[in-house]
């Protein structure tokens, strides 16, 4: 098994951990209302957290995977998750009414930026793994 940890492996893990740990603690949605109930954005936070945990598990699997083909497959599986997670705040679940509320000012941009960065890194990883796979194939042929 040709196991090699690349920068993209580490970046994918790092970004998914930042999203999973950041959503409940650092860039969470608005707090509870005075009557103790929550607004829509709280549901969005829960969904993003769930998806971020799934992405984190997948990214660790990506880190542990040996062959370039396996890594490519895992990266391809991550792409729809990243796109969907980026769409959750506002497009899938409507956020609160005012632009200066926490869900709009912090959670939404943080989620979108991390997902876009993950998407860029994942696509770079697919390109890199394809190259790596080709080199390995050439070596095997020799």
């Amino acid at each position: 098994m040709n196991k090699k940890i690349s920068v993209t492996d580490i970046m994918i893990v790092l970004l998914s951990v930042i999203l999973a740990a950041g959503i409940p603690f650092f860039f969470h949605a608005c707090g509870a209302k005075e009557d103790g109930t929550f607004m829509n954005c709280h549901s969005a936070q829960q969904v993003i957290f769930g998806l971020a945990c799934v992405m984190m598990i997948i990214s660790f699997a990506h880190l542990g995977a040996g062959s370039a083909k396996m890594k490519t497959g895992i990266s391809i599986a991550l792409i729809p998750l990243e796109i969907y997670t980026a769409l959750i705040p506002e497009t899938v679940i409507k956020m609160c009414m005012m632009a200066d509320m926490r869900c709009q000012a912090v959670m939404k941009p943080a989620t979108i930026i991390i997902c876009i960065l993950m998407l860029i890194v994942t696509i770079s990883d697919i390109v890199y793994q394809k190259k790596r796979g080709n080199i390995n194939d050439e070596k095997a042929d020799v």
Partner: protein, 397 residues
């Protein structure tokens, strides 16, 4: 050869290249971020000044702070005075035009738990809000129709409920970068209907009064040639239970804050630049010392002095370019998506500059980072072009 050698050096010594790139990124980020932040605050302040529109705002006694809280700090609120005060103000010499405004703060609207400021105006007399509204909404507002400020997350055609009274959003206003973006705007008849609805739900101040006879403030335009301060004093002396506030005075505090923030940002930028330039110059000097033998060997195999100097300079320029781009990208990722957080932290109106200014700032930041990289390595490049090949190679033995 120079190109290949330069790229190989950068890639092979990735740790060192990364450290220098991070320093360059700091340089370009400070230029780009500093410019965007200061310009945005200046734009916000200009926008606030033009949106206030009037020379003087007359409000009920003890509401001078409340009007600032509503218009400048964005704290929703309401206060009322008798409509007859507007007629009295109109009679004062030097007053060119007057227009009433009505303020009402909702308890909640839709899903949102925060109160929304409702601002009502009389289309027949208004000279403050309508010029701004016309930029994004051409028609006149009908009954139970309202326009949402840019920060209100609602779409045209949606209904908003205030005090169990449903109003239709017929347009969204252009962003002003001020707290006025957090309000909804409607005409006098709709706001009076909302005030009546609020009265029914038991809003204290409205309980004993007829909404038809109340206004919140009077916007005053002063005739040319008259002293605004004198007219403001006249209103304060002659009209009881009314306080006249000069809009210019309301903005003055913000102008001083802007000057303070702007000065602090410039000092920080200068500190970042001086530190980074010194560190980069030392780093390049150390790198050249470390690579003396490599350059001597290159000289022996035929590389000219100029080639060596160009190699060093272009390495620094490429690192500066990569760092500059990184700094600008980081600036884009922080300054624009998190605009709401920055506005909150600075406590100032904040309106991002237009796209051409943003692109120019990004280009200047990247170019200055490349120039800084090249300049800090220039001394080392000049030194390396004068190396005594024989002496250096002998030193190694």
């Amino acid at each position: 050869m120079t190109k290949r050698l330069m790229f190989k050096n950068i890639v092979k010594r990735s740790g060192r290249s990364l450290a220098l790139m991070i320093l360059s990124a700091f340089l370009s980020f400070s230029v780009f971020g500093g410019y965007i932040a200061i310009t945005s605050m200046q734009n916000g302040l200009n926008s606030l000044e033009s949106r206030l529109g009037a020379d003087i705002i007359a409000v009920p006694d003890k509401a001078a702070h409340d009007i600032e809280a509503i218009l400048i700090q964005g704290t929703p609120g309401y206060f009322y005075m008798d409509k007859s005060n507007m007629e009295k103000i109109k009679q004062i010499e030097g007053v060119e035009a007057v227009s009433p405004q009505y303020f009402l703060a909702s308890l909640s609207a839709g899903c949102c738990s925060v109160p929304v400021q409702v601002i009502g105006f009389e289309p027949e007399t208004d000279f403050s809000i309508q010029p701004w509204i016309k930029e994004s909404y051409g028609a006149n507002l009908g009954t139970d129709e309202l326009l949402a400020g840019a920060n209100i997350n609602t779409d045209v055609g949606e209904n908003l409920k205030f005090y169990n009274h449903i109003c239709k959003v017929v347009g969204k206003l252009e962003k002003t970068g001020t707290e006025l973006d957090n309000a909804v705007y409607t005409n006098g008849s709709t706001v009076k209907a909302l005030m009546s609805a609020a009265k029914e739900t038991g809003v204290g101040v409205l309980e004993k009064n007829d909404p038809e006879k109340l206004i919140s403030s009077v916007l005053i335009k002063v005739k040319d040639g008259y002293d605004i301060d004198s007219i403001s004093d006249n209103i304060n002396i002659h009209i009881r239970h009314v306080t006249a506030v000069r809009t210019q005075n309301m903005i003055e505090g913000l102008s001083q804050s802007l000057m303070g923030i702007s000065g602090m940002t410039k000092v920080l930028m200068a500190a970042v630049w001086i530190l980074s330039l010194v560190i980069m110059a030392i780093a390049f000097s150390m790198i050249i010392n470390e690579r003396k033998r490599e350059f001597a060997v290159l000289r022996v195999i035929g590389a000219s002095r100029r080639t060596l100097a160009v190699t060093v300079l272009s390495e620094a320029a490429v690192i500066g370019l990569a760092g500059g781009l990184t700094g600008v990208i980081a600036g884009f990722l922080i300054l624009f998506p998190f605009e709401g957080v920055l506005t909150d932290k600075f406590g100032m109106p904040y309106l991002a500059p237009n796209i051409s200014n943003i692109i120019s700032a990004a280009l200047i930041a990247v170019i200055s980072s490349v120039i800084a990289g090249s300049l800090t390595s220039a001394f080392s490049a000049a030194r390396i072009s004068r190396i005594d090949t024989g002496l250096i190679l002998r030193e190694g033995n």
